[in-house]
């Protein structure tokens, strides 16, 4: 019984861990970190076109990434240093919140939906886009909307809001379908293309991005009545109002000057069509004065 005592000790240690003293809450840890290292660590998604993705030369690129590069510039001004370098850390829907919460990344610039449950853990910037959940399907499948998926297989990316609203919608409408959990958008399209799943449900703009990068884009379509109406925003850790002020300042100034609309038009419009009334109103509202 040589290992019994040590194993019990390990259990005791695990339980004792709960009595660790919680240190006092420190505000603006991210800003201090940025000031010390002169580096902004940006969490980005590798396959969330057009918001954040690896481009042809495997460099981070996209609408959210470009906005965050501007945040780095604004930070240099705010902190009165010559330059704030940027360091990019890839995140997935499942890792992004823990990595913000544990301070590995200062800001997440991807396509994260602002949700109350998430606000328990992280804070969100002003919205940079609006999001509606739709279905990515093969054109030849005949699937038009959620009810067509009865008895079919639905791919959902783990850790996305779609994971929750789709399950809720299926339950509410008494539709039975099998759920296939995939890791990221990058795995959603192959699942539909290979007929492992009949639909991949996520934000319609993202799905548009997925289709555009497909080897045969003509085989796929994004269909259905919107399953959700959500805001896409950047995430920072709790108690980082200093950093959040800089980020929101960048968004407000760009919105006021019309540059934000330009960036949106350049990056997002090719996937989602020209700026719609809701998004135009959002940007107008966010352009708050100095």
């Amino acid at each position: 019984m040589r290992v019994v005592a040590p194993v019990l000790a390990l259990c005791a240690a695990l339980l004792a861990a709960r009595s660790l003293p919680a240190s006092a809450q420190v505000a603006d840890t991210a800003l201090h970190r940025i000031q010390e290292t002169k580096t902004l660590t940006i969490g980005f998604r590798e396959s969330a076109e057009p918001f954040a993705f690896l481009d042809g030369s495997q460099q981070p690129s996209g609408y959210s990434v470009e906005l965050c590069r501007r945040v780095a510039g604004a930070l240099a001004q705010a902190l009165k240093v010559d330059e704030i370098r940027t360091r990019f850390v890839p995140v997935t829907p499942q890792t992004r919140i823990p990595l913000i919460a544990n301070g590995t990344v200062d800001v997440e610039c991807g396509t994260t939906v602002n949700a109350l449950a998430r606000q328990q853990q992280v804070d969100f910037s002003y919205a940079v886009a609006l999001s509606e959940g739709k279905l990515l399907v093969r054109k030849d499948s005949g699937i038009r909307d959620l009810p067509d998926l009865a008895g079919k297989v639905i791919a959902l990316a783990a850790g996305t809001t779609a994971d929750r609203y789709v399950r809720t919608a299926l339950e509410a409408r008494k539709i039975t379908a099998r759920i296939l959990t995939v890791r990221d958008n990058g795995e959603g399209l192959p699942a539909v293309a290979s007929q492992r799943a009949d639909a991949f449900i996520n934000d319609a703009v993202l799905l548009g991005g997925v289709v555009r990068t497909a080897a045969e884009p003509d085989r796929f379509a994004v269909v259905g009545t919107p399953l959700s109406f959500e805001q896409v925003a950047f995430m920072v850790g709790k108690n980082n109002s200093g950093l959040l002020t800089v980020i929101n300042g960048v968004i407000a100034r760009l919105a006021r000057s019309g540059e934000l609309q330009g960036l949106y038009g350049r990056w997002v419009a090719p996937y989602a069509g020209p700026i719609d009334a809701d998004t135009a109103a959002l940007f107008k509202i966010e352009g708050i004065p100095e």
């Binding site: 861990a17 709960r18 919680a22 240190s23 499942q94 783990a158 290979s194 007929q195």
Partner: protein, 234 residues
């Protein structure tokens, strides 16, 4: 560190239920993969010892393929590649209509991978039995097959019983890799709890504790199955 501990969380619904389901999937994956591995490993090991040079080469290749490619990649190959190489209808069946596609694929991947390791273990067990025993059995009038069945294999089996339990512990741990193709086993469930509640310490802590308990049980079993312990009982 600022963290609000809540260990009762892992005992509350729905999370307690998730952990139980995760353990069930982990054990089911391990048991089914183990059964497949045992069925495949014995013929491979025997053909490596007894087969003609060509057969020996073939079974050697089998073992080296399954041992020299990371399990996670083997999992991907069974999941993403193999169905595409099958005839269209069969591939579709594998992807959609066979019972529990992700689970079944994971069992095949785990079983094949483990069969390579077990075949090597069986072979080392057979090698550990002195060669003279085969000659002695043959001299006594047994056929070669009988010599292996009644003389060599029972002894070899005894020798490898203890390492066999540690191989079973390996398959329990390796089953966690099935989370990469969407099987919600224990590690994935703890991940999911972390995702929903943001209480990673408690979620990972609970999973760790469960793995430790499983390993502890197997460790006790292995101690009883060591040749010395077996000899003491007979």
């Amino acid at each position: 560190m600022n963290y609000a501990w809540d260990w009762s969380l892992v005992l509350r619904e729905p999370y307690a239920g998730w952990l139980v389901a995760g353990v069930a999937w982990t054990l089911a994956l391990s048991a089914a993969g183990w059964a497949l591995a045992l069925i495949l490993a014995l013929p491979v090991a025997l053909s490596r010892v007894l087969g003609s040079p060509a057969i020996r080469g073939l079974s050697g290749f089998y073992v080296s393929v399954f041992r020299n490619i990371p399990l996670i990649l083997q999992m991907f190959v069974w999941f993403f590649v193999v169905p595409e190489l099958l005839p269209r209808d069969l591939g579709l069946w594998v992807k959609r209509d066979m019972p529990q596609p992700e689970f079944t694929t994971a069992v095949v991947a785990l079983g094949m991978y483990t069969s390579g390791r077990l075949a090597e273990l069986f072979r080392s067990g057979i090698d550990a039995v002195p060669r003279g025993q085969v000659s002695a059995a043959l001299a006594c009038g047994l056929t070669r097959a009988q010599a292996y069945q009644y003389v060599i294999l029972p002894q070899a089996f005894r020798i490898i019983l203890a390492p066999l339990t540690s191989e079973f512990l390996s398959i329990v741990k390796n089953s966690s890799i099935a989370l990469t193709i969407g099987v919600l086993e224990l590690t994935a469930e703890s991940r999911q709890i972390e995702d929903m509640t943001f209480h990673g310490f408690e979620a990972f802590g609970a999973a760790t504790l469960i793995y430790v308990v499983i390993a502890f049980g197997l460790d006790r079993m292995a101690a009883r199955l060591r040749p010395s312990a077996l000899a003491a009982r007979t």
